[in-house]
Symmetry: C2
DNA sequence: GCTTGATCTGGAGCATGCTCCAGGTGTGAC
DNA sequence: GTCACACCTGGAGCATGCTCCAGATCAAGC
């Protein structure tokens, strides 16, 4: 009796992860995964728990703005095995810094936009008493 | 005596705003500005304070992730003049919601990445006592 | 006046990150 | 077996947002 190939089909993996099947295949082709995804006898991908966990991390990195190229670099380091932990750490730290900076910048800019929203709300609530409004408002 | 055309050259405007001259020309072409930028007698752009203030707002919208198309829509509303304030407000509110959602998502994902960073730091500090580490680390 | 460098226009090109397609094979219900 | 549908590969296409280029004109120091 042949051991059955376990794991999710690409469609199931995609819906579990919130990605498209095309994106999953693209990630594999582009070297973002730790290994070639295992296949069934007929050549269909079967995503195991480890694959799903890794891809979940990849989506976290991606959705915080890490470029594909850096995710690939990180995957390469992990694939290379023990001994480069400090390099992995450096990569993650650098990313963390970038994300924090971007968060701060977005929050600052959002504050300015909120101010603009406040101006419109005041104007709509009290259309008469419109103070000197800037030309670009 | 001809009144001199005032305002910053495109290079000065670009460096003031932190954009490239190409981007400024692109924004004008693409309808993101409130008006055609005034020109000197010879046809060179001269950015006035109002232009700069507006473009500064545009950069805040852009850097919080508003697509070009929506910025253009907003500019169209402002250009159309009084009477559509609630539509402008709706656009800004919708954007604000999106930004807040994205901020929350990024913060959540960053927390997961921070956890990973913590794992690497522990491992580097105490390489002996390495607990069962996940295969995808 | 000459030269160097800025600016102009219209349009092409490019980096990123998917997304879609054709043509073919596999799968599962009936 | 048949039908509908999922999956495969290699490669093309696309949306976004700039960025660059050619060829011409303008500006300013000497």
């Amino acid at each position: 009796m042949v051991p059955p190939v376990r794991g999710l089909t690409i469609a199931d993996a995609a819906s579990t992860l919130g990605l498209s099947v095309d994106t999953l295949r693209y990630y594999e082709r582009d070297g973002l995964l730790l290994r070639a995804v295992p296949r069934s006898a007929s050549g269909h991908r079967r995503f195991g728990p480890d694959d799903l966990r890794w891809i979940d991390l990849v989506t976290k990195l991606r959705s915080t703005g890490m470029p594909i190229r850096d995710v690939r670099r990180y995957a390469e380091l992990v694939r290379a095995g023990d001994g480069n932990e400090s390099e992995r750490l450096g990569l993650l730290h650098a990313h963390r810094r970038l994300v924090l900076d971007q968060l701060a910048a977005v929050q600052e800019n959002l504050a300015a936009i909120d101010k603009k929203i406040g101006i419109y709300e005041d104007r709509l609530l009290d259309p008469e008493r419109t103070p000197g409004r800037s030309v670009e408002a």
